[in-house]
Structure formats: structure tokens, C-alpha cells
Amino acid sequence: MAEKNYKREVISILVDNESNVLARVVSLFGRRGFNIDSLTVSATNDPKLSRITIVFTGTDNALHQIITQTEKLEVVRDIFTLGRDDSIYRELLLIKLRADKTARTAIREITDIYRGRIVDLSKSSLIIEMTGAPGKIDAFMEMMNCYDIVEVCRTGITGIGRDLTVDDEPCKA
């Protein structure tokens, strides 16, 4: 393949809310060798539908493949990319650090700047919660790398288009 321009895309998939749906989608990704960065599944306002949000890094061609292969699944009602400029992405981070009294103040300061919250505290450790665009979480993690990290949990990205038409569009039958 000529192009080697890797791009990061967030793909939103509306699927039937029934057992086995996630297995179908994931089996397809496995079979086609689509390597994804993150995947979240969640409820929507329609109990018959769930939303899968995936982050995928690849060429335009690979993106075309992942979309056109996925849309063929019987359980997929809609699939679209959430463009960087017209969507909001968020991610939740929970991070546990070993920190004594001396480290604590500095960590708190940084956490405040990034608008995070300390949600658990003990003599020797603390847990920070933070939501934000993935870039912000990355930057915060950069800062935290100087400290003694015990565990990190990130939810993976969920996203929503700013455009009104996306959600108003009737689902494909």
C-alpha cells in the first residue's frame, strides 16, 4: 500500500442491544486484523440500542475497511467517524499513587491545575479521578510519571458529535 499516513479516528457504532453483539464486532476485528486502541460499550437513550465507541489508528484505507466491514454486520444500525473538529471526546482516568506527606502537596497542586480530584487518601497513597479530552489526560499522565504510580485505569474514549443531524437521523432499518 502506497500511503503510510497513520491517522487516529474515533468511530461510533450503534448496534442492537442483544447478547453476542460485542462478540460479533470483536470477532470481526480479530479476523480482519484490525488493531484498535480502545473500545467502550454503553447504553443509549433507546433501550434497543447500544453504542460502541472505538479509537483506531491506521491509514485511510484501513479506516475504510473497518467501517465497510463493520457496517455489514446484521446488528449494526449505524456507523460513523466522529471528526476531531465537530465532536467532543472524553475519557475518565483513575490513578493510584504512592505518596507520603512531602509528595502530596505537589501532586495536589498539579491535580488542581488539571481540574482533577483526589477521591481517596491514606497515609501512604492517594487516588485521583479526572475526566477530559484524551490529550489532557495524556499531559497529566506525563506529569504524574515523576511520581510513584501504583496503578492506572483509563476508560477509553467516548465521544459525541456536535452536529444535531447525527442523532436525529432515522436508524437504518
Partner: protein, 553 residues
């Protein structure tokens, strides 16, 4: 009217015009089989020797008749035995409805006797699958299965029904087959752009595949070729679309394709790909393949666009619809020189044969072909004999050449031949197989005998796993690892043991005699033909190669 789950399955099959099914019973399938007993005056059940044979039979039945094949199996091993048959259908986009029974719902997930998560096992090889543990969902699932199997790009669908559902009762409301999903419509402007490319082209070639057959667009394709005055090449899945003698037919394309077809692709300035996926057996080296040409791709499946080869223009729609729409946009242009040139290349053929041998593969195919009429269905197994059949048969009807293309399933042939013969009792079915493939499926002879099917099985007995042996000869310094089994099978005796007729041939004369005799039999016949292990399938372009790497003799 209250009916059981199994009875409802039968009713919905009848709604879809199903009068024949293939399969194998078992514990969890008892209710289904009891219903089949009850409905036996309207639905004929063909019992095979093995579930794989039943799945291949359902597949061959569709390819020969155009009617969706249905296969039944029990849970556990019955279901897993279907897997290769379902995968074969999946890779060749063949509609099929597979109905398995599973253990009663309260036992699901407990590793009950013969419990297998078959919807999970078949996830990557079905278009869709249903797990039914509530009778309310049953009739809808069966109707949807037919719709999904036949909509857009066709393929197999599996319905797994728990045993308790097959026994449960429900009010049955008669229904009708669901309308097929609408296929994507191309915008007129897109087709106009393709027309412009065609109108400009000096050396166009139409390269087509199974999508033309799936769309039943054979007639339209021929008219299109005349209209644009272009030569054409076909994939294994589309043999017979264009008449064998037609000067526009350059033959099979790809690894074992004709010199003319591959050369024309190499020289072309425009490739029009219809219903085909540029597979690695065709575009052996996607970067070099048709490097002088602009490429247009027409397919019903959007995901095929740019999958294997990047094209300059793609139209996503049904082939027949495409041809009908583009026809008035084509300007007459004289390309007789190009067509004549391509036709000239047809004279050169790469079919060197073993000098010392007494019976050559081409002679076998020629004799079988000459002694049978245009209505004959030829079914193959997989290996050299498959390629010889593809190369030498005088194909004239797409439903008359049945072969496993995408998966290349050894052991496909006999089951598929049985399905074809059951579906077309008035036609003759000739089954070409190899000694290796036949050892995978000869057990189905018992089915052919029970059903009294006059299938003629022609065994290309080179005593080697020839196709692999050929590669080992060419690329592995004749290190024949596991391809030269020292088998002593006496095919004539085995045939007789099954209750079939057996013949052996070592010369063309013997083969002619045996074939004449076989043609007179009401039941199955086998003809074992001794050929040389050193016979090769030629021409050949090695994997990843281009036209300049073609081996001719």
C-alpha cells in the same frame, strides 16, 4: 393453530419453497427429525454419511438450482462437522441456512453432553447467526435467515435452536418470505464517469467473477462485452458466463490462468472488474498487476473496494443494474485490433504434458466433456484435477461448473455433486476428484447409492497430493514431505463394496469405454484413472509473481 417449534421450522421452510433438505440426526435434533418425518411428503430429507457432506450438498444444491440449500444437524459434533461446509459457502458467497439443535436451555453453559457454542464457533464464517431459546423468536429468525442469506452479498446463516424450543408449542401464524434488502444504488454521475473512462480506453479488459453469477447477469455481461468491444477474463467462480468458443473469452485468469488472459491484463489500459475481489490468486502481486491500466471496480459489497487492489473508480451496486444503466452511455468505438491481438494470444497455451504417460489429464477432461451434453454439471474437488477441469472443460453455463474457489476445500466434491444431482435429477453430474481429495469424502458414496444418483466420479489417480507435490517439485527441491502416500486403495473394489460401479482406466481408450459404461448406469459410478505424478498444472505464475514469472512448460 398451535404447532411445536420443530413444526414451525417446517412450515416456514415451506413458506420459502423449500422441498429438499440435507442433514444428519441426533439426540437434540430428535424433535426436528420427528417433524421431518411428519412433513416427509412435502420436504425430502437427504441423509448423508457425514454432516460435512450434508453442508456441501446444500451448497452444491444452491449452485446448481439457485435455490437456497438447507442443512440440519444435531448439537455438538453434528454442529462442528458443519463448520468446513459453512466456511466453504461463506468464502464463495453462497446462501445457505444451517439449522442446528442445541441442548435444552436450562443446560446451556454447563458443558452438558454434546453442548457446543456453535454460534460462537461459526461467528467468523457466517453472515449472521441466531441462538433461539424462546419459541416466540423462532419463526422470525427462520424468515430473517433466508432474507439475510440472499440479500446483498450472499452467504450462510446459522440458526441454533435449543431442544426445549423445538418441543414447545406456539400459535403459528402463516407468513411470507421477507423482501430482500435493497442493494446499494449507484449515482448516475458515478456511472457516467465510468462510461467516460470506457469511451476513452483503447485496450479495455473486463475481468469478472462470482458477482456476475450471483446477480444472474450473464446475458447482460455478454451484451456489454459486444457493446464496448472488449475481451474478457474470468475467475474460477465465473466460468461459463461467456461462451467457450467466444473470441471475447480469453479464459481463466490468475495463477493457473491462460497466457492470453494474464497478458491482456498486463497490456490493458483499462480494467473493468465486475463482481470480483482481486484475490491473491488473481492479482498475485497487487503492485505490479495490470500496472498500465486504470482500474474500475463494480461490486455489491462496499468493503471490497480498495481491499486488495487500490482502484481508480468504484461503483457499489448490483452488476446487472450497473450494466443496464451504463449501456446507453457507451459510445461505439472500434477496438477490433486490440480484440484481435488478445485473441491471437489465445493460440499459445501452456499445457506441456508428461511424454511417457499413457493417459493425460487433458484427455480425461476432453473425453468426459465430449461424451456429455451442454446440460451436464461438472463438480470438482480441490487440487490439480480442479485446475485441469477449470482449464479444459468447455464451460457454457455458470450453474454447470461447481467448485470450491475461496476456501479450496478438499473433500467438497462428492457432497456438492450429491446436492447438485438431487436438485437436478434430469441432468448428468460428473464429479472430478483426486486420489487425495477422494479419500476425504468417498464415504458419501453410500448416500449416492441410497439415493440412486447416477453421479460419475472421475478420479485423477496420480497417487500424490499433486498440487502440493507440484510446488515441492518447483520450489522445495523435490523434498516430497507427506505428499506421496503409499496407498493401496483398490477403487473398483471399494466402489463395489459401497454398492456402486467401479472402473479403472490406464489409457484414453479404456477411459472412453469406462465412461460409456458409466453413462448407462442408473446409480453412481467411479472411474479411477491412472495418471503420472509428474503432470503439472500450467501455466503457472508463482505467488507474488507477475506475468514475466509465468511458467509455461
Amino acid at each position: 393453530m398451535k404447532l411445536t417449534g420443530s413444526q414451525i421450522v417446517m412450515e416456514v421452510l415451506l413458506e420459502h419453497g423449500v422441498d429438499t433438505v440435507f442433514g444428519y440426526p441426533g439426540g437434540t435434533a430428535l424433535n426436528n427429525y420427528d417433524a421431518l418425518y411428519e412433513y416427509s411428503d412435502r420436504i425430502k430429507h437427504v441423509l448423508t454419511a457425514h454432516e460435512q457432506g450434508a453442508a456441501h450438498a446444500a451448497d452444491g444444491y444452491y449452485r446448481a438450482t439457485g435455490k437456497t440449500g438447507v442443512v440440519f444437524a444435531t448439537s455438538g459434533p453434528g454442529a462442528t462437522n458443519l463448520v468446513t461446509g459453512i466456511a466453504t459457502a461463506f468464502m464463495d458467497s453462497i446462501p445457505m441456512v444451517a439449522i442446528t439443535a442445541n441442548v435444552p436451555d436450562p443446560l446451556i453453559g454447563r458443558d452438558a453432553f454434546q453442548e457446543i457454542y456453535i454460534t460462537g464457533v461459526t461467528l467468523p464464517i457466517t453472515k449472521h447467526s441466531f441462538f433461539i431459546n424462546d419459541i416466540e423468536d423462532l419463526p422470525g429468525a427462520v424468515r430473517k435467515a433466508f432474507r439475510i442469506a440472499n440479500s446483498g452479498r450472499k452467504g450462510p446463516v446459522l440458526i441454533d435452536i435449543t431442544k426445549d424450543v423445538t418441543a414447545a408449542e406456539m400459535e403459528y401464524k402463516p407468513g411470507k418470505p421477507l423482501p430482500l434488502d435493497k442493494y446499494p444504488k449507484a449515482r448516475k454521475k458515478e456511472i457516467e464517469e465510468v462510461a467516460k473512462m470506457i469511451n476513452k480506453a483503447e485496450r479495455p479488459v473486463v475481468y469478472y467473477g462470482g458477482g456476475v453469477v450471483a446477480s444472474r447477469a450473464e446475458k447482460e455481461l455478454n451484451a456489454f462485452l459486444d457493446l464496448i468491444d472488449a475481451p474478457s477474463a474470468y475467475t474460477l467462480m465465473a466460468a461459463g458466463c461467456v461462451g467457450n468458443e467466444d473470441h471475447r473469452n480469453l479464459g481463466l485468469i490468475g495463477m493457473h490462468g491462460s497466457i492470453a488472459a494474464n497478458r491482456a491484463i498486463d497490456r490493458a489500459d483499462l480494467i473493468i472488474a465486475l463482481g470480483t475481489r482481486f484475490s491473491d490468486r488473481v492479482a498475485l502481486n497487487p503492485d505490479k498487476w495490470a500496472h498500465r491500466a486504470k482500474k474500475v471496480q463494480v461490486d455489491i459489497d462496499r468493503s471490497e473496494v480498495d481491499k486488495n487492489v487500490i482502484v481508480d473508480k468504484a461503483v457499489v451496486t448490483d452488476i446487472k443494474e450497473f450494466i443496464n444503466t451504463i449501456t446507453p452511455m457507451i459510445k461505439k468505438k472500434d477496438r477490433s485490433e486490440w480484440v484481435a491481438q488478445a485473441t491471437e494470444w489465445k493460440k499459445k497455451r501452456g499445457d506441456a504434458q508428461c511424454q511417457e504417460a499413457q493417459l493425460h489429464p487433458k484427455e480425461i477432461v476432453d473425453i468426459a466433456c465430449d461424451k456429455t451434453d451442454n446440460e451436464t454439471i461438472y463438480v470438482t474437488d480441490v487440487g490439480q484435477h480442479q485446475m485441469w477441469a477449470a482449464q479444459y472443460l468447455k464451460h457454457c453455463n455458470t450453474q454447470h461448473f461447481i467448485t470450491s474457489g475461496g476456501l479450496g476445500t478438499m473433500g467438497y466434491g462428492y457432497g456438492a455433486a450429491i446436492g447438485a444431482q438431487i436438485g437436478c435429477p434430469d441432468k448428468r453430474v460428473v464429479h472430478f476428484t483426486g486420489d487425495g481429495s477422494f479419500h476425504m469424502n468417498m464415504n458419501e458414496a453410500c448416500t449416492a447409492v441410497s439415493e440412486n444418483l447416477p453421479i460419475i466420479t472421475v478420479i485423477f489417480d496420480n497417487k500424490v497430493l499433486g498440487m502440493v507435490y507440484q510446488w515441492q517439485t518447483a520450489f522445495y527441491g523435490r523434498r516430497f514431505s507427506a505428499t506421496t502416500p503409499d496407498r493401496k486403495t483398490d477403487y473398483v473394489k471399494v466402489a463395489e463394496g459401497f454398492g456402486a460401479k467401479g472402473y479403472a482406466a490406464t489409457t484414453p481408450e479404456e477411459f472412453e469405454k469406462a465412461f460409456d459404461a458409466a453413462l448407462k448406469n442408473d446409480g453412481p459410478s467411479w472411474i479411477a484413472c491412472s495418471i503420472a505424478a509428474e503432470e503439472r498444472v500450467l501455466p503457472m505464475i508463482p505467488s507474488g509473481g507477475g506475468i514475466e514469472d509465468m511458467i509455461i512448460g
